[in-house]
């Protein structure tokens, strides 16, 4: 079977799964939903069919599993968002349309040779920096949960950092391809870029109080640097510098200190000062409330989960227990309703996606393509790790989105661009091999 036919067959399977998901939500929440909402599944399938047609026309030799997995991930996210709030699902659906359009646009634009973007690398570099610092702009920037990540323009709000991530990866791929020989020699003057990016990341961290994004960008940078130079010493030095910076930030920034305390000791047996209401309470009733309730949500799912639509997310009076459930904490909702089986399957999807991505990097013939595919794949894996690891208390919690699953426009669009990038590289690599 050709690549695209395999993709089509997988997409049909994804469509069936999506239909089952929406149907089970509909059955369990019949009283609140109309049967018309089942149209979501059909609409969703049609949308991916359109993406498939574009792929067939532009990147016929691209990896056939990336698009179906991305489709399944968005379907899982959309189903859960739909279950939590049908109105949000409509907006998320719109964003997915925009994401697919961006995906199609990128494929059409770059179908001949995507490597033209290599020559715009500084534009991407500056763009990435600008996007990272955009939330700090006085009028449009907005602080949410102690971190300054959002930009507000009229009715729209988005996290520019998500798009900044893609721009950064493109810039790094081009820059490292060019400089990798000199960097590998390890002369002090060549450490300039490394130090300046380290400084930039720390600056972002200081300015936005956003540990998660800093970790993500810096991690992507180190990963790509390692692929380009094959020098473990660089990675070790980079990690060392990151730790130094992190300790400094920990000392200087109460917000980051709280996050670390919530991570190390979410439950206290004695009352501690609660800055939210100025009283003495247990930490689990104050600062670590969100983390702790999210763990309860996950634990409540147990092995098999409560089933879609049967999870408990609100109190008896209708108040939502976990704040940010649809965005940062969607994993806790999914883990409760789908159980360990479902959560493990979801993580397995991420693994397969990332492995396919690395496979693209391995078979790619030129340095830029390799670095680009590796950066996109590793960024995808690292972002998943930072948010899910934060929820699961593997690392301190920082609010970023779960790629393709969380509610949020900028995240959806940027991850569709990431998908487009991987498929473009894959198409070229497979065409060369064939």
């Amino acid at each position: 079977m050709s690549y695209r036919n395999r993709e089509l067959a997988s997409l049909v399977a994804v469509g069936v799964l999506t239909a089952i998901g929406f149907a089970s939500v509909y059955i369990s929440l019949k009283s609140q939903l109309s049967a018309g909402s089942l149209g979501y599944a059909a609409f969703f399938f049609a949308l991916y069919l359109a993406a498939h047609v574009v792929a067939r026309l532009t990147v016929p030799q691209a990896d056939p599993y990336l698009l179906p997995i991305a489709g399944l991930l968005t379907a899982i996210g959309l189903t859960e968002i739909y279950r939590l709030g049908p109105r949000d699902a409509f907006r998320q659906g719109l964003w997915i349309v925009i994401g697919v359009a961006a995906f199609a646009g990128a494929l059409v634009w770059l179908r001949r040779d995507y490597r033209v973007i290599e020559s715009y690398k500084y534009l991407f570099g500056i763009g990435a920096l600008a996007l990272l610092f955009l939330p700090l702009a006085p009028v449009i920037g907005q602080t949410v949960n102690g971190a300054r990540l959002w930009v507000h323009v009229g009715p729209f709000q988005f996290q520019p950092g998500e798009l900044g991530k893609i721009a950064l990866i493109v810039f790094l791929a081009a820059y490292l391809r060019e400089k990798r020989e000199v960097l590998a020699q390890g002369r002090l003057k060549d450490w300039g870029p490394l130090l300046s990016i380290w400084g930039g990341s720390m600056l972002v961290l200081f300015a936005t109080d956003d540990l998660g994004s800093a970790l993500l960008y810096y991690g992507i940078f180190l990963g790509m640097l390692y692929v380009a130079t094959a020098r473990v010493a660089f990675v070790a030095a980079g990690l060392g510098l990151f730790l130094v910076g992190a300790v400094a930030v920990y000392r200087g920034t109460p917000h980051v200190r709280d996050r670390v305390l919530n991570w190390l000791e979410p439950w206290t047996t004695h009352k501690v000062y609660c800055p939210l209401n100025g009283r003495m309470t247990f930490r689990q009733d104050c600062q670590s409330y969100q983390e702790v309730q999210s763990l309860y949500s996950i634990a409540h799912g147990g092995f098999g989960g409560t089933g879609l639509g049967h999870g408990t997310f609100t109190t008896a009076t209708g108040r939502q227990v976990i704040p940010d459930l649809r965005t940062d904490f969607i994993y806790s909702a999914l883990a409760q309703e789908l159980g360990l089986i479902g959560a493990a399957a979801l993580l397995l999807l991420y693994m397969v996606f990332v492995l396919r991505g690395f496979r693209v990097a391995l078979v790619a013939s030129d340095g830029f393509s390799k670095l680009l595919a590796a950066g996109l794949s590793f960024g995808f894996a690292l972002q998943t790790f930072v948010i899910v690891g934060g929820i699961l208390r593997v690392i301190p919690l920082t609010g970023i989105t779960l790629p393709l699953v969380s509610y949020g426009g900028s995240s959806v669009v940027s991850n569709f661009l990431l998908l487009a990038g991987l498929m473009l590289v894959s198409n070229r690599a497979n065409r060369g091999a064939a």
């Binding site: 089970s24 059955i27 369990s28 929440l29 009283s31 609140q32 990963g223 390692y226 692929v227 130079t229 094959a230 247990f282 689990q284 009733d285 702790v292 309730q293 763990l295 309860y296 996950i298 634990a299 409540h300 147990g302 092995f303 098999g304 089933g307 049967h310 408990t312 609100t314 109190t315 008896a316 209708g318 227990v321 159980g339 360990l340 959560a343 493990a344 993580l347 397995l348 991420y350 693994m351 990332v354 492995l355 690395f358 990097a361 391995l362 340095g367 390799k370 670095l371 590796a374 794949s377 590793f378 894996a381 690292l382 998943t384 790790f385 899910v388 690891g389 699961l392 208390r393 593997v394």
Partner: protein
């Protein structure tokens, strides 16, 4: 570049595998600990989205605990209601919207919420979830509502307890404790305070206390059954062993008198009597002398065989049951030095002996059961929503306490008590009843805890009963407790 690429892909996989491991930890390993945490808001809500199983009495018609459905913003919650109010209140317990539980509602929570699901019914459970509400299992008790209601009515405003059971199987028919309370009140405003303010004819009404299993009372002369069992079983005495009763017994150089004679002019005096007559008329001096000869150790060891000194097994929460035995400063006490225990007074159930009505019912049931202690139980079976039986109780024993011969001799002696002794009020026309009265001294003089333990029919026992009525001014076991025991026996033998 492929080598570092491969390594980076391995690192990525390790990161994601770490997430699988962490998820497994929280969803499999840490589940129990998290579920029980006080601040678990999810659990506090989730427990009420399950349609808890009903608790049904032994006739399968009387529902003791059912659900009321409440809809809040599209979510359905199930809270408890108790249609029979106080009928079996302390034993069934309660489960409130605030999440507090007691009694069987607490100890059988896993069954009632269906959390006990085993793999074979897991599919049914999953289908159940797909269709809507999760349904818990129904619990069918052994309680007979007619006799239970009768016991409560006869106790009336007095404080006390009645336990009735099948001496062979251990099935408990009646477990009544007064004053009782209406568990529905717990969901009303000030309901808890109103329950605590319940009035009854005793200094500490404590309506939430299950007197049948956790109420500790001085057993008085009903404990003579243990002493007599030890006396016969060790071979030290026969029912015909002779005694001379001068109206008192001498211990540590002091007189320990019999109970007062009917004219209240002094202690009753019987002269030459046998051990059997000693039990028939409940003569303290006889048992005092038996106790002195056997020693406290032997008596207590026999008590142990009947189940004293261990918490009787039952489906209710362990902290709602108390072990019987000697109590010293509020704690169960097994003497290191038996000289510290007065054997004469122990022999007729005074000293510091404390017993629960359940334990005394077990004592009667053991004698009725030929000397083997039956294992008491309240839950007949647990039924899944689809009608299949999840669990069903089979009768078990807790071991042999006395020889069959001893049990037979004790039965004969207990028959005399009802035929012509202190327990004549328990006579039932056409049925031979074996019983023993007890009138235990309390801290206030002339105020007694009145006891009666019995079983019937004496030769083919079907029911064993223990009754205690607290703080009765000039009320005796034979006059206050025996009529209640008789009525409960009649009701159960009829049914």
């Amino acid at each position: 570049m492929n080598r570092p690429l491969l390594r980076l892909s391995v690192v990525s996989m390790l990161l994601l595998v770490a997430l699988v491991v962490a998820t497994t930890y929280w969803q499999a390993w840490a589940v129990g600990g998290l579920r029980d945490r006080q601040d678990n808001a999810i659990q506090q809500v989730a427990q009420f989205t399950i349609a808890r199983g009903r608790i049904i009495a032994g006739n399968e018609k009387t529902t003791l605990a059912a659900n009321r459905r409440v809809r809040v913003k599209g979510q359905t919650f199930f809270f408890r209601r108790y249609p029979q109010r106080g009928l079996v209140a302390q034993t069934v317990g309660y489960s409130t919207a605030g999440g507090t539980r007691a009694g069987l509602e607490r100890s059988l929570d896993d069954y009632l919420t269906g959390a006990n699901t085993n793999l074979s019914s897991a599919l049914g459970h999953a289908l159940d979830e797909l269709g809507g509400t999760v349904h818990g299992n129904d619990v069918v008790l052994t309680i007979r509502p007619v006799a239970q209601r009768l016991a409560l009515r006869l106790l009336g405003d007095r404080c006390g307890a009645v336990v009735a059971m099948d001496p062979h199987s251990g099935r408990i028919y009646v477990m009544a404790s007064t004053p009782t309370y209406d568990p529905n009140l717990l969901e009303r405003r000030n309901g808890y305070a109103r329950i605590l303010e319940t009035k009854a004819e005793c200094p500490r009404p404590a309506p939430l206390l299950n007197r049948a299993t956790a109420g500790l009372f001085t057993p008085g002369s009903t404990f003579k059954l243990v002493t007599a069992a030890a006396a016969l079983d060790t071979g030290a005495y026969t029912p015909d062993s002779g005694f001379v009763d001068p109206g008192y017994c001498v211990e540590y150089g002091q007189r320990v008198s019999n109970a007062g004679n009917p004219d209240q002019t002094g202690p009753e005096t019987f002269g030459h009597v046998t051990l059997a007559q000693g039990l028939e008329h409940s003569i303290n001096s006889v048992f005092c002398n038996v106790g002195k000869k056997l020693g406290a150790k032997t008596i207590l060891e026999y008590a142990k065989r009947f189940g004293f000194y261990s918490t009787p097994p039952l489906e209710t929460p362990a902290d709602e049951r108390a072990p019987s035995g000697l109590y010293d400063r509020g704690k169960l006490y097994w003497p290191k030095d038996f000289n510290a225990v007065d054997p004469g007074r122990l022999a007729f159930g005074q000293e510091r002996m404390q017993a629960t009505p359940l334990q005394m019912a077990l004592l009667a049931a053991t004698i009725a059961n030929g000397g083997v202690v039956p294992r008491p139980y309240l839950v007949q079976r647990v039924v899944a929503p689809d009608g299949s039986v999840v669990a069903s109780t089979r009768s078990q024993t807790l071991g042999r306490a006395i020889k069959p011969e001893t049990a037979r001799e004790l039965t004969e002696m207990m028959k005399l008590v009802v035929q012509g002794g202190t327990g004549t009020a328990a006579q039932i026309p056409g049925v031979e009843v074996a019983g023993k009265t007890g009138t235990a001294e309390t801290a206030v003089s002339h105020v007694y805890d009145a006891w009666f333990v019995c079983f019937a029919p004496a030769d083919h026992p079907r029911v064993a009963v223990a009754v205690v009525v607290e703080d009765q001014p000039n009320g005796f076991g034979g006059t206050v407790a025996a009529p209640i025991a008789k009525a409960v026996l009649e009701a159960l033998l009829r049914g």
